[in-house]
Each structure stands twice: as structure tokens, then as C-alpha cells.
Symmetry: C2
């Protein structure tokens, strides 16, 4: 059975939307997701970089995130054909450990603890595929990277790209899945 | 540069001694480490299994553990010749995340966050070597396993064995390190 590792933020959990909403509310701004294409919130508001990053610091930010549509159903289906691990770069925000774990238990209780990984550099992940929105992590990974679309990676061209969980399903479970990967 | 992943409990942190001391104090017993050879505390006191395992439940148990002698110096030296990751099965005790992280920051601050991994099943670890006291984890690992001696694994014979950090140093940094592994 092939193994797939799946990133959490911006792949299973909608960090981008919640982060943007928090920022807009607090600063009375109206930044849209479209404006973040190819960049980040800190990239377009560099003077507020510290404030922008401070949303993550408490870790509680991660507890209330919305589930990205389709991720639950497709991951459940993937488990029938792949060994599924969740690999999240939680070490970037150590305060997030508990919130991330609780979020996974709430929304993805069908993934056993043994298959959850909190790491930093994902070159440590031993899997056939890594589904991730981070080009930095996909470049480090030793297997086949699959890029999950996010505003910040819109102009990246070096990886197989999926735009939503419907496309993940097609790529990994559809006809000819073995050929396309 | 070859990569080595290093387990935490009973390799860097002396869980066995502290656990036994807690148990002996609470139950007025005098179980010795020698009695645990080839077994576990729950193995020799099966009726107290729940109580024995409850020491881990709070997670705080992991914050005050003693550092296993030699581990700091040898890991620091290993970093000059290997890419060193710490891989701990923290998912077995989710309440331990914070305590384990703080313990590592206190005693092994020279290991960057990017190289810490909290996982469950260590088959997910992509490294050349895994230094671990758990035969179960070494069997799952895809690279070369190195067994760190602990009372419970005393009679295992399937792996290269090291009895202390001096022997880790000899094996990985001594003359002919490349030949013996």
C-alpha cells in the first residue's frame, strides 16, 4: 500500500481565510484573498508583519479553524487505498500543539494518533506522496510532491497541482491514478 | 551527510528511573531496575497496570526527567558529522507535548525546532539510522536500527546494540564507524 502524507494548514484547515478575517476586523481593512495571490499578508503589509504573525503565537488560533470542504470525505476514502499520515509543521508554533491535536481529534477522529506527525522540516517524512501547499516543504520532501493550491503558491509551476479536494480524489483515486503520478 | 533520528524516552531522558522511583514511593515498594530486565513495571505488577500508566497521563512527568549521561555531549558532536533529528512517540501521550518540548529546549537547546518530530509510528521517519530503545519502533523503521539498551529490551538480539552514550560515540564517530554500520 502506498503512503501519503497530508499537510494540515491550508490543506485540511482553512488558516488563510480565518487569518485574513481576523486581520481585516482588527485593522478595519478589506484585504481579499485575491490580493494575496503569489504573496502573503505580511508581504503586502510589511509594516504590520509582527502583528500579523502574533495571531499564531497563542496557538488557540488553530483550534477554531474551518475544515476545508471535501477533506474529510476524501481522506476517509483515501484510507481505503493508501496509508494516510498527517504531517504538520507544528514546530513553527510550539504553542499550537494542543490546539492542533484537539482540532484533529474533533474533525478527523478517524485518523489514529499513530499516524499524526508534528514536525518542522518535512524532509524527515518517509512517504510516497506529500500533499502540501508549501513549495519549501515539497522541495525538501524525498518522494513525489503534490501542490495544494493556495493564494500564496498561485504562480508556482514545479509540481503536480490540485485546486481542491475533488481534484485530490481524481488524482489519487480516479481512473489512471497510477499513471498520472 | 547521513541522517540519524534519536528517540527521547530512555535514550535521552531517563523515564525508567523516574517512573520506578515514583512507583516505589507511592506504593512503598522496592522494585529494582534489575527486576525489570526483559519486562516492564506493568509486566511484574499487572494488577496495578492502570495506576502505573497513570503517571504518564498528566504529561508533567516528562518535564522533570533526568538527562541520560553523555547524551548532550555526544549529540552535539554527532551534529558535526550527521544531520540529527529527535523523533519521539509523543502521540502516545498527547498531554506530554508541551512538557517534552520544554524539556528539549532546556536540555538540548542546540537542536533546532525544525529537527524535532513528535510522532506515533516511526515508520514515517526518513533517516539512515534510528537510535531507539523500542524494538517495535526499530522493526517499523526503514533504515538501520540501533538499539539503545534498556531493562525491557535486555534479551533482544536482532539489532546492533549500544549500552550507553560512550558506545554511541564509538559506533557513529569512532574509527571504522562506516564499516560497522
Amino acid at each position: 500500500m502506498k503512503r501519503i502524507a497530508i499537510d494540515m494548514d491550508e490543506v485540511m484547515a482553512d488558516t488563510a481565510i480565518d487569518h485574513l478575517e481576523l486581520f481585516n476586523r482588527e485593522y478595519g481593512e478589506h484585504v481579499t484573498l485575491e490580493e494575496l495571490e503569489g504573496t502573503t499578508l505580511a508581504g503586502i503589509r510589511p509594516l504590520l508583519r509582527n502583528e500579523i504573525e502574533s495571531y499564531f503565537a497563542s496557538g488557540q488560533f488553530f483550534r477554531g479553524l474551518k475544515v476545508i470542504p471535501g477533506s474529510q470525505d476524501v481522506i476517509r476514502e483515501l484510507q481505503e487505498h493508501y496509508e494516510v499520515f498527517i504531517a504538520t509543521a507544528a514546530m513553527e508554533v510550539p504553542a499550537s500543539f494542543r490546539a492542533k491535536y484537539e482540532w484533529l481529534k474533533e474533525h478527523f477522529a478517524f485518523i489514529p494518533d499513530s499516524h499524526l506527525v508534528f514536525c518542522g522540516n518535512k524532509s524527515i517524512i518517509h512517504a510516497d506522496y506529500l500533499l502540501d501547499d508549501s513549495v519549501k516543504q515539497l522541495n525538501r520532501f524525498k518522494g513525489t510532491g503534490i501542490l495544494y493550491s493556495a493564494a500564496h503558491n498561485k504562480f508556482e509551476t514545479g509540481f503536480i497541482r490540485v485546486n481542491n479536494w475533488h481534484e485530490v480524489r481524481e488524482l489519487l483515486l480516479g481512473e489512471g491514478a497510477g499513471v498520472r503520478l
